[in-house]
Amino acid sequence: MSRAPFDAIVALHGARVWRVCRALLDEPDAEDAWSDTFLAALEAYPRLAHERSIEGWLVTIAHRKAIDVLRRRARLVVGEVPERIAPQRGRDLDLARALAQLPERQREAVVLHHLGGLPFVDVALALGSSADAARRASSDGMRRLRHLMGGSDG
């Protein structure tokens, strides 16, 4: 069996990977995480096991890359955060802020399932939990998210 041209994978899943990165990061960081994700995927692509779901694989990498960027940012001393263009105010900021307030497990489950589109079995695999636990974390996270965003939805 042969591999599809990688370009077709990018075209098919680019938007999905973007949602995962952008939900956790601001625009410039999300753009970095997006290309970090596809660059890592491109490197490993010829050796990828054929039975693996491509989207599950990509979403898992995207999540890890986004977390890497978040950790790099967190290590920066407060006050030395690089200057950025003033972020546009909008629902995306509300979403990122609300997601940031979720417990880590819930945030990961929401991002992987609702934004990455992974079924709970794959979310569970990525989180090292059972599918039931992943489903619970996701639905608790969504409830909390709607509550957090409800006030500013206007």
Partner: protein
Amino acid sequence: MAEPIDDIAAALPAPRLDALRATLAERAAASGLLDVAYRSLETELGSLLLASTPEGLVSVTFDGDHPDATLERLAVAVSPRVLEAPARLDDAARGLARLIDGRARRFEGRLDLSLARGFGRQVIEQLQRIPYGETRSYAQVAASIGSPRAVRAVGTACRRNPLPIAIPCHRVVRSDGQLGQYVGGVEAKRRLLGLESGAARGEREAEAMPE
């Protein structure tokens, strides 16, 4: 597969996918991970698809407006690390465009002949020796590589030339004077040969003119 919940996904600004893909192609090339770069090129002969490896231009096909089948073939024959990267093929595109509109007589730039193997490779290397403005018959090409009876196989090798235009398989015609087949269609072959013979004749006449 769960669909992303609309109100959550709608809260995110849409990605600038074209810009992201261009950046990815640049980073991939810089990291040595861009095994096959491709772009399309609109020409008088039709929409071309150009592909290159780090070695040079590896494939020219006449399907720039529907490239999927060729890209899948390249993914198998060369590497699945295939990305659209027009900037990496700017020089090759310019070189082909100059051949097609008669401003150049040979392709300037590196070629990667790895898609032609065995007998096919022998044939296309021979094709590179046919001078601009001239033609050879399939039988002559067969004889020139020491396989005079392999006339039909030469035809097949010409049809499978991975780099038409750059490697002039259009200069091989039938012994009876008919054009014979061409991977880009007979009309494209006629145009290329017409252009070349006109330019070559023009030059001979210019040389013959007294100063």
